[in-house]
Symmetry: none
DNA sequence: CCACCCCAACACCTCAGACAAGCGGATGGG
DNA sequence: CCCATCCGCTTGTCTGAGGTGTTGGGGTGG
């Protein structure tokens, strides 16, 4: 019997069916799915179609297929959209989270920074200062600031912290641009000094000072937002 | 660290190659990609392989293919699946990130905790102790531990930190269960004392002590994993 | 009895080819 | 100028074949 008319590709429908089965616990977390041939026959689709459906779920992080072993469930649900959380949260909450990440990263960076990391940080610091004095575009200021902070995070050599920071960038960037448009920094010179202090602490391999410098800077930042 | 180059399915490599091309702007947002046959020839892979790579990127929300029309770029960057990052990251990195979040949250909790928060924390602490002494299932121990730590995070009254912690739970939970199965805690009593110390610091509204207690506990934890 | 090695069955991976289904521009009639 | 139709190109789906990696069981030596 030919299938009913369907506007959506069979691949997509198959992926939905599989996800529904996984959600209702037909196959548990970490468990192996039936073989391609078996599953394709059960669902009444061709092997290619099933394979593409599996790929789609693999892209979503639900399935993982290992050659020779089988296809395994690695998540029972699609993860919540992280951007949505950040949009919903207040600026204060985001800065607090940023403080948690950046102070820790600053301390780690002081311990782990390589000469190359140091060069990147100092170059970013220089660009940042140049922007402070000459550039007129506020967005450019903020971007230069982000580049510097990201260089610090990278020097910590921790992928999780780096990824967290990257998630925060768009939200923080927008908030900072909006704020600076309304009320510019009281003292650009002090702002630069705070950043230079952080860079120096990292160069000196002084974790405590680096964390301290990062914390005071972000505390000031938060005060401006409230 | 795992080997830098490891045998990966051609499908996955192809998906990465496409994503790299998109990121560097070879094809712009909303633009149509070359036809499957053309692209497959260019990349030197079979059409099925290319199709599965496209399907994988479609699952990530980067590409969208419409029958008869072509394949289109619908996002130039992939909001990296958070779970995927945590799976790929080392346990050490995850614990370091956890340290960043929990020490900050502990300090905030000490300032903001309500009487209700305190009750929840103490109840979780009690359940945790009970598990230490009577329960036999390792997973039950770990779950009780997670409940306690989550109660602390909730007391910080910061949605972003709470959401971050929740993202970490599955990964950390699995790692802890695996580890405890191989090598149980040296001293369950000391472990309980460390947690009780944290609860007391929060009750006393002492941010520095709370952060300190949280940090020492997680440092010990990290030591066991390395 | 245990530890180790070997191998065959099984699983996914990759390719090639064929035909169906759908979109979009070109075409030609009104 | 408008619109219905046609045709070329694109993706969708299926099938069959051969390749590669994993796993677990049986045989062997200690």
């Amino acid at each position: 019997m030919p299938p009913f008319v369907q506007r959506r590709p069979l691949t997509s429908l198959t992926a939905d069916a599989l996800l529904a089965d996984i959600r209702e616990g037909k196959w548990r977390l970490g468990q192996r799915l039936p073989g391609e041939a078996t599953l394709a026959a059960q669902l009444g689709v061709g092997r290619s179609t099933l394979r593409e459906a599996i790929r789609e779920l693999a892209g979503k992080g639900v399935l993982d297929s290992r050659q020779g072993a089988g296809v395994f469930v690695i998540a029972t649900d699609v993860t919540e959209d992280w951007d949505a959380v950040l949009r919903r949260a207040s600026v204060g909450s985001v800065i607090e989270a940023r403080m948690a990440i950046e102070t820790e990263a600053a301390a780690l960076a002081a311990e782990r920074r390589t000469p190359a990391d140091l060069r990147t940080i100092n170059r970013a610091l220089g660009a940042r200062r140049w922007c402070d004095r000459d550039a007129t575009d506020i967005a450019e200021h903020v971007d230069a600031d982000m580049v510097f902070h990201r260089a610090v995070i990278v020097a910590a050599h921790n992928d999780v912290l780096a990824e967290l920071f990257d998630s925060f960038v768009p939200r923080v960037r927008k908030a900072m641009v909006d704020m600076l448009r309304i009320r510019p920094l009281d003292s650009p010179e002090d702002d630069h000094t705070a950043h230079a202090l952080l860079a120096t602490a990292i160069a000196d391999r002084d974790p405590a000072a680096a964390a301290e410098a990062s914390r005071t800077h972000l505390t000031d930042l938060k005060r401006q937002f409230t």
